[in-house]
Amino acid sequence: MDIRLKALLKSLWVYHLSTGSCNNCDIEVLDCLTPRYDIERFGMLPAGSIKHADLLLITGSCNRQSVARMKRLYEQVPRPCFVVAIGECALSRGMFIHSYNCPQPLDRIIPVDVYIPGCPPKPEAIIAGMVKLLEKVKNK
């Protein structure tokens, strides 16, 4: 196993990006960091800067304004980096699929490793997704 991937198993630092969401998924992501769900037990901490991140948690419907910024941020993440799409919006644009401002779903723009469906997904679902991601890293 690549030493860089091995290091990630116990300390994945996350950076959360909202690309035009209703806020609910973002709040559930923050909820995972608070005492009841406490995702920190998997070594996940919010990173202070995108340059320290290993994992991008992306929510929202990828609207025209934010897509360009999101791409720029994606290019700045040090590799190896993983992307998790959270919520129906990020998966397929969900409710906003007919909107004039949301032309493309997330996985047509950047590669996505784990999809967590739900509108919003419960924190338990987000944690289950994270565990799957850790499995994926392990098997790489």
Partner: protein, 394 residues
Amino acid sequence: MKETIIPIGPYHPLQEEPEFFTLTVEGERVVDIDVRVGYNHRGIEKLSEMKTFDQSTFVIERICGICSTSHPFAYTRALEDIISMGVPRRARYIRTIIAEGERIHSHLLWLGLAGHFLGYKTVYMWAWKLREEILDVMEMLSGNRNNYAMFKPGGVRRDIKAADLPVALGKLDSIIPTLEMLRKAVLEDPVLHARTQGIGVLSKQDAIDFSALGPTARASGVARDVRKDCPYGAYDEVEWDMIVTANGDVFDKLVVRIGEVFESVRIMKACLLNLPRGEIDAGIADIPPGEGIGHIEAPRGETFHYVRSDGTNRPVRHKVRAPTFMNLPTFKTTVKGATLSDATIILAAIDPCYCCTERMAVRDPEGRTLGDGYDLIRLSQEKTARIKRKMGNK
């Protein structure tokens, strides 16, 4: 001294939503601020006009995840205004219960984030831990933690089971001691006093001039609350007090919000105890032509919806104004003169919600802003004509 411009955003680890601030600073002092929104724009008004009246409630709910009750509440009230009809009493009580539950979790969420902005993580963790208890109650009553989907034109979609009432009341009682502890910890903490008292003052006159709404106005001594001024739901049938303070600084906004959490628990308990029997849905079949407005007090202030109907099953125009739209311009007075380190908490103090507020402007290739909806309609017609020409139709 030389002016420097500090950009914050659109993606910043402190912000959960994308928004862009340009702070102009002279040394440590902020001399000007500019806010740019639009990173969350999803075209909800247009989407709502593409759906039927009943389907729209689900889209409207997703304007904002924190106000996922306030928007459908105002929207259904606008529809009921078009028909000029009332809602069954039991449905009004259930609506009030859900709306107050939302207020509690929203204010606790803000309290936590305020702690986070101040670097006071203990408050953040405690407030969010407490919020989970309320979300449990809401999940029990409505079936989901957020986005409750309880509202429909003319009533509510789901009834509250009699077996759930004592459990919900018990839960509400059990959070009171922790809430008391949190109130004491926050309001008597010298560190928090130092960071928030006298910071970001919005004077009463400014609050009136900017038409500030909700807790932002009430903290500045403007007694303005739709629940009292123009009662709806069950607010005129239960006892509660409006919390108003005089100073208008960040600390007073803290006091108002924590006080409101207690009042909301009181309202919720009163409604659960006195829940009347009867129908929960008035059974609206058609919406006649006409226009209606609905306004309610969301956790951040007055949410306003305007709906115009032409007698079909879709709205022809749906206009949404969220409270942050009115509260945002108060930055122009509150942030000016503050130090850079205080600016973050002042910007957070109005409890801004950008995904409610999103507006957009369209520019043509020459860089001119095309102002209103008519311009957009013209653009769309021109495009259709172009496509028709290309396809060989006349």
